[in-house]
Symmetry: C2
Subunit: 346 residues, 2 copies
């Protein structure tokens, strides 16, 4: 294996100079840098990153902390982050921080304190006060994708607006008995769920309608289970559902089919996400793009790494209504059915 000593010898400089030249230090002349780089290339030398790290104070790695690896949203965000870091030549060090686990405590107490990264991206982390203190004390730039604190750099969709749009779409179709499915609804659970529920409730109340909420686990089986319970009771059955996300919406659609309730003829369902399964289930949804959110967060972090004085900023994306065939006018009002295009403009 070629070492830095070989490169230094070949370029006719000291080891320290060779190391500085390869790490991009400004203490080395351009001419020397070129000579050292040429020598390194000729010898096929790849710098040991531990040595580079000590010389530059940079690890050339970005830490990504996220509570779930297997959920669609998080996996898509991770791919978006990875695509940008790969282009920038930065490593991605992954920290799994599932809420309430011993592993999460270790990530905050031990792993993050090692500072094996130049900056952090926190995805849906929703840190408690103690955890937030740990994050700040690391003294490295942090960018959040959903669930970040006030005054920090973050990327997210406008969840309040997305839930309002979803609810308004159903009201415009004449529905008055609309139930929100998903989230814990008791102030616990992810804040994004609570904000979406709030957007639905505000819209219902402003229209003089009674909001109704059914809790569900944030997953396809969670939506299925909640919908079976809700739709199985004929007296309680609404004509439309706003789901906290597409997985819950699709679970509810499958439940409706099992119960012999035709979608959208007897039940309209709208989600939030534009999940990879949404098209297959012809689900009307508020489309967001988590991969783009991950990429945006990685670009923001790179900007903060390049300029430590950069002020915190918030990148707020708008979800876009995509009308497919899981929503239709309320039964008895089919006469007002408009085209998909018409609905998309509503």
């Amino acid at each position: 294996m070629t070492g830095i000593a070989d490169v230094a010898r070949s370029a006719g400089v000291s080891k320290a100079t060779a190391s500085r030249a390869l790490s991009g230090s400004s203490q080395v002349s351009d001419q020397t840098r070129r000579r050292v780089r040429a020598a390194a290339d000729a010898l096929g030398y790849v710098p040991s990153t531990s040595a580079v790290s000590l010389a530059t104070g940079r690890t050339r790695a970005v830490g990504v902390v996220m509570p779930y690896l297997t959920r669609w949203f998080f996996a898509e965000v991770l791919e978006g982050i990875q695509s940008v870091l790969l282009r920038e030549g930065l490593d991605l060090t992954l920290y799994d921080a599932r809420p309430g686990t011993e592993g999460r405590a270790r990530v905050f107490e031990d792993f993050l304190a090692r500072q094996r990264f130049d900056g952090l991206i926190a995805v849906g982390l929703e840190p408690d006060d103690h955890e937030l203190e740990r994050l700040v004390s690391i003294g490295r730039p942090v960018v959040s994708v959903i669930g970040g604190g006030e005054g920090t750099t973050s990327v997210a969709i406008d969840d309040l607006h997305a839930a309002r749009r979803a609810t308004e779409h159903l009201l415009a179709l004449g529905h008055t008995d609309v139930v929100f499915v998903g989230g814990a609804g008791d102030g616990r659970g992810p804040s994004v769920d609570a904000i979406r529920l709030e957007g639905y409730r505000d819209t219902m109340r402003e229209a003089g309608l009674l909001p109704r909420h059914v809790a569900a686990l944030t997953s396809l089986p969670g939506g299925y289970a909640a919908a079976v319970d809700l739709l199985g009771d004929l007296r309680e059955r609404p004509t439309a559902l706003v789901a906290v996300c597409d997985e819950v919406a699709i679970g509810a659609m499958i439940a409706a089919r099992r119960l012999g309730i035709p979608v959208p003829a007897a039940l309209s369902v709208v989600g939030i996400d534009d999940h990879e399964y949404a098209e297959m289930f012809a689900l009307t949804t508020l489309a967001q793009n988590p991969r783009e959110q991950g990429a945006a967060a990685a670009r923001l972090l790179c900007a903060h790494l390049g300029d430590p004085d950069l002020a915190p900023s918030t990148e707020r994306l708008q979800a876009r209504l995509v009308v497919r065939s899981s929503t239709a006018p309320v039964p008895g009002r089919e006469g007002v059915m408009v085209s998909d295009t018409g609905l998309a403009r509503d």
Copy 2:
């Protein structure tokens, strides 16, 4: 921030000795080690891993290379790996190596060569000859989860056996017109798909039956699209499907329902995985546990890191038949229907 100099001063030793003591070097007496550790604990010192890395030649990180982050199997394996590494105090550096992308080329040419890890776990990597050469040239232990080469340490289920069991289950129910859905079938694509197809073909031929194969993308929409095409043609419609994985199987079940084909009355479907959605769709399947495979791979890698002379080994797990209600006797043979328990023992 407390530095190694503070610890050394407090313990009354040199910086070099303090560093050696904290990195577990054998050149330091137990008494000194205890004194330095006590000082480090009292001062709240967390070692910079770059410095530890140079002193020990260890990075305390494990690289994980995988082609997909968003697929169920890969995300589950990643969680299994992470759970073990977290306990061992090892960082997880993630490398996204989607086949045929520029990113994959960079991972092999650039990122892996930096050796920012003590060992690698390759998940479903299926390296070509050139990539395999790069992997070997790194000179660090590599453990594969599916898709590893001969003579390397690997963890996988017995795919041939799983596909045979799935096919035999249908034959035992009296089906003779059984189609295999999924995989490219032309020798390209993941070897695991090709092996499962082979297991199906062998079983059909041994029973004197004609194997039929329909290619599908390895996803729920992929299974849906392939099944719509296959089942839409009445003359070609089989009575049973073996799917390459549960996502394809569930896509096929949804397609059947859309086409008005009752499952299992008119069509039996069996998958391989026991995906998180399998229970909800009452899918009969050959259950594997990717999370456990990830954990097993991480444990094997730790063993190799602890003992460089350890011989390569293969951990071959058996998938287990789980009978739910997506499979039933061939139409016209309902009389031989046995209980789920009976089928589970077949």
